[in-house]
């Protein structure tokens, strides 16, 4: 019996796709994967039709066909498991501080970065993640499928961002560590509520709390339909990162499906 995996999300799917093509773990022969990737701004044009999500926008359809090898619809019945990648889910410390505020110590609080208790911050981050495209996609999937779903959030932003003079709080490891702990608890709460699991990035990819080791931002992988990608960016992971994440996701899905993915 074949096993079909659906990987869907935004630009962060690219690292998983490249890893699938070049460095996937040894899998059973009948395991296949389909990758759907489009920016969040386009994903909102996915429209449910029966047991499928269909691209209801020309640009979105083009992106989905490009990344999936010709499909512009996700038929939920076709897949035995789902891996949702990025799509607004993840712990981007700089972004979350902008959106939610800061926690104690309060020296970083100002009019645009209100001080929150850690519990309030968790509530805010929970709200932020709950409203993500990733969770909306999961809602669609769960309406018609009981297949296991994993979510791999966007990776931590690059450690280079911590050098930003305009965001002095990012240099304070204790502060960021506490912030990330709040964010992680919030993400786990969202995942538990939706009965999904999170694939967290490995410690060796993390330079300091909340930040990706710059090594994994070199030669970042992105789907580039018409242009060559940059040699570095602060948000995307590279092939090494993708390979680790893909391996962890497949291992977990193998456990959840009684060994239907990994080769013996």
């Amino acid at each position: 019996m074949s096993f079909s995996l659906c990987v869907v999300g935004n630009s962060h799917v690219a690292a998983f796709k490249l890893a699938w093509d070049q460095r996937r773990p040894r899998l059973r022969d009948d395991v296949e994967a389909t990758f759907f990737s489009a920016p969040n701004r386009l994903m909102k044009f996915m429209k449910r039709e029966g047991k499928s999500l269909v691209a209801n926008d020309g640009e979105l359809a083009e992106k989905l066909r490009y990344t999936s090898g010709g499909l512009d619809r996700i038929d939920f019945d076709r897949y035995d498991a789902f891996l949702v990648v990025g799509a607004g889910f993840g712990i981007d410390v700089a972004r979350l501080i902008q959106e939610c505020g800061v926690t104690v110590p309060w020296r970083f609080a100002d009019d645009t970065h209100p001080l929150c208790s850690r519990r309030l911050l968790e509530t805010l981050i929970d709200t932020y993640l709950e409203d993500s495209m990733a969770i909306r996609l999961i809602g669609h999937i769960q309406r018609f499928s009981t297949a296991p779903i994993l979510i791999a959030g966007a990776p931590f932003i690059s450690e280079r961002v911590a050098d930003d003079e305009a965001q002095p709080w990012l240099k304070d490891d204790a502060f960021v560590q506490a912030f990330v702990a709040c964010a992680r608890r919030a993400a786990e709460a969202v995942a538990a509520r939706h009965k999904i699991e999170i694939v967290w990035q490995r410690p060796e990819t993390i330079a300091r709390p909340g930040f990706m080791d710059v090594t994994f931002n070199n030669a970042p992988v992105r789907f580039q339909m018409r242009s060559k990608g940059p040699s570095f960016d602060v948000k995307h992971g590279n092939l090494d990162y993708g390979a680790m994440m893909l391996a962890d996701a497949l291992t977990r899905l193998d456990q959840l499906t009684n060994g239907r993915l990994l080769a013996a």
Partner: protein, 388 residues
């Protein structure tokens, strides 16, 4: 010819013409403002839970109600309220006594925090001076203190910048820590903490003490803000429970009488202190109790609207109509909620063959008790849990 000092008095000075033969909802002359409340005046509000209604109505009627601790944008209104946002001009929660208000001002002046004002419950830590603003408490004592330091800085900024301060006097009864003299908005053991008679004492503030406390507060405010104007009101909401040996009705009457007398006295002292008669509008025989919910304690939306009509009649003519509209909208919303709840109950009963009915009835009874209070956050309602 016999002369009397009551000759030539206006109709409003006679009970029959002003009350017996008049309708409360159309009555005039109840309140004459001492000073203008201009739309651009920065208004700060504080006090017992009834004061929350005042702030809401002012906001909805275009007055500039200050908020130095606005809710984070991601927080919806319901959660924001649970975290103490948008209720008053800062997240200080309910301030029931004048001593509590004075204490807050002095703390704000000095940036003073005391870890003895941190209470715990189930491994979580609460700011005993505003225990409701973090519904689940904080992780550590240090977190509570840091949040409080930040809050006090905001409160100081508020007190320095407000043009008008509207304060609703709520209670004379309070709980005090014996070794520090600190006064709390709730009894220890209600939301958090533990009642230790060696550590905490009951205090029923006297007229003289309350007057002195307010004068000290007003003096301090005038140092920061010489042009400050104050509007005092007295909450018409009776006590949920009393710690005196008196019947709660007697204790309520004492408490409200003292507060009303204090407010009257203070308003006569200064042309910068006005008294607004929300207490009389709701609690006097004129209203025949119509403005209370079925528990005869919480003020219903009609009562709030009646109070605010009189307020806006003096401070903003076009706003009065808006206040009525708002009250109607609230009533409609409440009716819709009741209907929805009824549909839920009927549906559940039909599915469960009546098994749910008894449990639902108990829940509904609890909800009914709560619904009377749901428009405002009132910690003292929690004292009902201790009733026999």
């Amino acid at each position: 010819m016999t002369r009397s000092p009551y000759e030539n008095r206006e109709p409003k000075h006679f009970w029959r013409s002003a009350v017996s033969d008049a309708h409360l909802l159309t009555a005039t002359g109840l309140y004459a403002k001492k000073f203008e409340l201009r739309p651009r005046d920065g208004i700060a509000t504080a006090g017992s839970c009834f004061a929350q209604h005042v702030a809401n109505f002012l906001r909805k009627n275009g007055f500039s109600v200050l908020d130095v601790e606005p809710k984070p944008p991601l927080l919806d209104d319901e959660k924001a309220k649970a975290f103490g946002y948008g209720i008053y001009s800062a997240r200080y929660g309910n301030i029931y006594t004048v001593r509590q208000l004075l204490q807050l001002a002095l703390d704000a002046e000095r940036g003073f925090v005391d870890e003895r004002d941190v209470w715990s419950k189930d491994g979580r830590f609460f700011d005993a001076l505003r225990p409701n603003v973090e519904p689940e408490g904080a992780d550590t004592v240090e977190e509570v203190l840091d949040l409080r330091r930040h809050h006090l800085a905001k409160v100081k900024h508020l007190f320095e910048t407000m043009d008008v301060f509207i304060f609703t006097l709520g209670l004379t009864e309070a709980w005090v820590r014996k070794d520090t003299g600190r006064v709390y908005p709730t009894a220890p053991g209600t939301i958090a903490g533990d009642y230790d008679p060696e550590l905490f004492a009951f205090k029923n503030f006297s007229y003289d003490e309350i007057v002195a406390d307010f004068e000290e507060f007003f003096e301090l405010m005038r140092l920061w803000n010489p042009r400050l104007k104050v509007i005092l009101t007295v909450s018409p909401v009776p006590l949920t429970a009393t710690a005196t040996d008196d019947h709660v009705l007697i204790a309520t009457t004492y408490s409200k009488s003292v507060l009303r007398a204090v407010a009257g006295h203070l308003s006569q002292l200064s042309n910068r202190i006005d008294y607004f008669p929300s207490y009389e509008l709701v609690a006097s025989p004129w209203s025949r109790g119509f403005f209370y919910e079925s528990n005869m304690r919480a003020v219903n939306p009609g009562g709030v609207a009646a109070v605010m009509r009189v307020f806006f009649e003096q401070h903003g003519t076009h706003a009065a109509a808006a206040a009525q509209t708002e009250a109607k909208a609230e009533r409609r919303e409440r009716t819709a909620r009741v209907r929805e709840r009824k549909r839920d109950v009927e549906g559940a009963d039909a599915r469960d063959g009546g098994d749910n009915a008894r449990r639902r009835q108990r829940v509904d009874e609890a909800r009914e008790r709560q619904s009377a209070e749901e428009e405002a956050i009132c910690e003292d309602v929690l004292l009902e849990a201790f009733a026999p």
